[in-house]
């Protein structure tokens, strides 16, 4: 009888191990759910930090909720290529580029420096796709 139990114990443990492995596999399968969204943010830092302000972070998601693509990429004239638009603060204050809306009429004005110049020091200019796409041209 004693031998009978001895023979069974390891089998139970082995089976439990199998279930444990299955359970862990299941949890591993669920792991991809913890990905983060990619925002398509554009960093402008060609001149910002040299001029003593934080880099500009432009959020596509915020703007496309409120405006269709053609408003900025046709009416205002932003080229659809990060880095292709040479933007000076003087242009913005004269109603060009961001200043077409950020004029205290459509959106808050350009004197609110910190709202755009909100980036981490040292960021490189360009569009950010994130870890799934790495952004255009980064494959």
């Amino acid at each position: 009888m004693g031998r009978h139990i001895e023979n069974h114990q390891p089998v139970i443990i082995r089976n439990l191990m199998v279930w444990l492995i299955l359970l862990l596999s299941l949890l591993t399968l669920l792991a991809p759910f913890s990905v983060h969204a990619e925002y398509g943010d554009v960093v402008f830092n060609k001149r910002a930090e040299k001029a003593g302000v934080r880099p500009v972070i432009f959020p596509h998601w915020f703007h496309r909720i409120r405006y269709k693509c053609n408003v900025c990429h046709s009416e205002i004239g932003f080229k659809m290529r990060a880095g292709a638009n040479d933007i000076f603060m003087a242009n913005i204050k004269n109603g060009k580029f961001c200043g077409a809306c950020h004029n205290n009429q459509i959106a808050w004005g350009a004197e609110n420096c910190h709202l755009c110049h909100s980036g981490l020091p040292g960021l490189n200019s360009g569009i950010r796709g994130g870890d799934t796409t790495a952004g255009p041209g980064k494959w």
């Binding site: 279930w19 759910f33 983060h36 990619e38 077409a100 709202l115």
Partner: protein, 187 residues
């Protein structure tokens, strides 16, 4: 023997309960952490004065139709459902002219053919955003490859960081070559 089966059954039940709870917690936390707060996006300076004034992505995006890629928002659905009502002009009388015209790109190698729908694109863009600069209007006149697209040209101008990313192969390559079989030779 019966006891051991019972123990295993109990073990499985407990295991499934733990798994479900873990999943539930995971999903719950996703609702909040899926769209990283600006302070954690590695772009915004957490020490900057703007962070408590700028809208958080989760506040704006978590209420829109979900997608499984990119910024996790199905923007076409968001627009069609009326979840968002983006303006189409700011100072001129620009009107978007929705064009319901599909273009089939057949020369796609082993991948399925690409059905390009003008409709979804013209709901966001006007003709001149793509024509004649990025694409010629004449179907077939613009030659490009997936390599170009991956390098941010042609479709890759938008699809990647802004429109749904290039990892979503089958959303574009969605017509099997067998769907349009070569016409059978006359008997």
């Amino acid at each position: 023997m019966k006891q051991s089966i019972a123990k295993q059954f109990l073990g499985v039940c407990v295991g499934l309960c733990i798994a479900q709870t873990t999943f539930a917690i995971d999903t719950d936390s996703n609702a909040n952490s899926f769209w990283l707060p600006l302070a954690q996006d590695e772009l915004h300076d957490p020490a900057g004065p703007a962070l408590n004034q700028l809208q958080s992505p989760s506040e704006a995006l978590s209420v829109l139709p979900r997608d499984g890629a990119g910024d996790q928002v199905n923007w076409v659905k968001a627009l069609n459902n009326g979840n968002i009502k983006p303006r189409i002009n700011i100072r001129s009388n620009t009107q978007t002219e929705v064009l319901d015209l599909d273009v089939l790109l057949r020369n796609t190698g082993e991948m399925g053919m690409v059905n390009f729908p003008h409709k979804q694109h013209t709901e966001w863009l006007i003709c001149s955003n793509c024509h004649e600069g990025i694409f010629k209007s004449k179907a077939g006149a613009t030659k490009f490859s997936m390599y170009d697209i991956l390098n941010g040209e042609y479709c890759g101008r938008c699809h990647g960081a802004v429109a749904f990313p290039l990892t979503e192969c089958n959303r574009c390559h969605n017509v099997p070559h067998t769907a349009i079989a070569a016409p059978a030779k006359a008997n």
